[in-house]
Symmetry: C2
Subunit: 413 residues, 2 copies
Amino acid sequence: MIEGHNLRVDGGRLWASLMEMAKIGGTEKGGCNRQALTAVDAEGRALFRSWCERLGCAVDTDGLGSMFARRAGLEDLPPVLIGSHLDTQPTGGKFDGVLGVLAGLEVLRVLHETGIRTRRPIELVNWTNEEGCRFQPAMLASSVFAGLTDHAATLEARDAEGIRLGDALAGIGLDAARPVGGRPIAAYLELHIEQGPILEAEGADIGYVVTGQGLRWYDVTVTGFESHAGSTPMPRRRDALLAALPIIQGIRDLALSHAPAGRGTVGEMRLLPNSRNVIPGQVQFSVDVRHPEAAILAQMDEGVRTLVARVAAETGLAITLTDIAHSAPVPFDPGLLAIVREESTAMGLKGRDIVSGAGHDACNMARAYPSALIFSPCKDGISHNEAEDMKPAWAEAGANVLLRTALRVANAP
Amino acid sequence: MIEGHNLRVDGGRLWASLMEMAKIGGTEKGGCNRQALTAVDAEGRALFRSWCERLGCAVDTDGLGSMFARRAGLEDLPPVLIGSHLDTQPTGGKFDGVLGVLAGLEVLRVLHETGIRTRRPIELVNWTNEEGCRFQPAMLASSVFAGLTDHAATLEARDAEGIRLGDALAGIGLDAARPVGGRPIAAYLELHIEQGPILEAEGADIGYVVTGQGLRWYDVTVTGFESHAGSTPMPRRRDALLAALPIIQGIRDLALSHAPAGRGTVGEMRLLPNSRNVIPGQVQFSVDVRHPEAAILAQMDEGVRTLVARVAAETGLAITLTDIAHSAPVPFDPGLLAIVREESTAMGLKGRDIVSGAGHDACNMARAYPSALIFSPCKDGISHNEAEDMKPAWAEAGANVLLRTALRVANAP
């Protein structure tokens, strides 16, 4: 059995593949619009399939369209699964998800070229619809694979035009009747860009993701009274926007009171009737709070409820708080994490522990299988944006860590 | 010459006419959707025309479609013009504008029945597109009539579907080539619902409108940096919404610092990208400040500029302030106001001075002709709403004051 201590990916080839994939759905501003299960996604899938088949890997798809390129092992053991996703946001970048899939491809290419056989099979996955911009929720394919949600129900998700996910699969020749998950996996490894500014700011090459943040999402609706901006005296107003202000400020203060890991964001907001000369009668907004520790996230949840109740009492307006989503913090596998750290350090890379602020397929997989998530830096923390960028050296370093971790895990006794 | 001291309108007939007009474009919730120059507006216009012609009045239209029903005077003098508008908001009520037109119709009916001839002609006007919901700006027909804006340019206004105002006129058989204004008017009198809560709250039957508030409209754009709600640490954020909060609060404080007449409102707001898990990169919102005194409105304008500059300096974000509209306070004619007060008092009505918070055709007319605006109470100050309502006795009282003021002015030496 070859240990592979000296193996390295071909960084230039990895970068060239990233750039080639980026042409499919490429935008004028240098980003990508390759949304899940569209014609351009099908084109990206075909390119990916041809690359894998050229390495002698059989490519299978499951009942949600996720693609699995399999490289057989020496023994008929559960595979080591590596990968990420090729779908993008409508104004997405070239690296979010794609890095993890094509770094995985680079792993298969290196093994193919060197003729190295691993003890366990290695499978490279391209998860369907990670982004969640076309079909909600995000990461739905890995969720069903990991047994967290139901296959049949997921096929009923509809996009903004009312198209069923099941029909969108059929539309690009995928078979929704195939099984999803329900099989043993030795380990799941995912390389992804950080989508945050920390690694670059600290000059790190690699992030060892210890935990996926837990999050709680809420919708808040403040109901005041719509009236004329000119004829309604100030003391008679029941302005829903003014009542929303201390809640928005309070969400920020709540996150700061749990620094440095706490996060609190109001990202979405809607005024009714949203007219220049009408006092807002109703304001609806989202609240997103996050923390990597379940106990503190629970405290933050209490904080949100207390805050909303206090402002409702103070303003006398009706304010409703609706729970939209709750995702518990996800610890990644300590054993795998130790291997990632060792291999990274052995290659002289500078790494640091980090929390994943965004959700990833690895967060779903970690609830069912030993899983590791590895971060590469990206420029200025910019992601979900056509300006998303990274240095080729960062991509190469991440792929090398993925390669060597995958080899270690696939060959482990 | 008959003085008409004992004349009264027929309150029941006025109410019945209001209810009949309200059927045209009537909504399920009891409001009206009779937007300017639509097919339902044409239907309302035809009903109005038939009512006027039944009284022997010739009905003329001008080059913006405003309708003038003329009752000749004993002498060929400039007419006394009375009226308001029949167009409504998309979810408007039965009284905003309609009360003034149909109270004016009631004036013509009483004169017709009693055979009273006035010294000056009396013309009843239905102004086109007062609401401004279909074509901007609001009150565009009275503005051109009063010589404040240009006829040809106004015909180029387009609605949300891109239809030119000039084409919309032709679409319901109106002739945009006819002249607009440019003729002497002895006085303009308009009865309108208050669209605010003051008269009802004080148990008043009538409001003597001393001044139309001045207003300043602005757009504010706060530019921060769009980034991920999970992966961006709180101290690294440039959240445009958080920077907007002290401005929104400050606009309210500015209005309160000029109590009781000052008004300040943020009614319209837009977040970009407006996504639950993205920190707002940009926030755009409207600012509306009002005061009946020009000197104080100028101070408030300074206050807005200082506020925006201070928040920009404190947050380090780029904040732009754009002037959208400025309307100077409009004093109404003191001589006409005195007659309104006298006639109201003589009938035993309870009246009070009031400021007009909303814009009205009378505000345009007052810049060119002696003008008076008379308010009737409406329920709970609700307007621009299908729930808009008033008591029949309020409508009758307002119409009586309009009748007797019009007679006094039309017969004045």
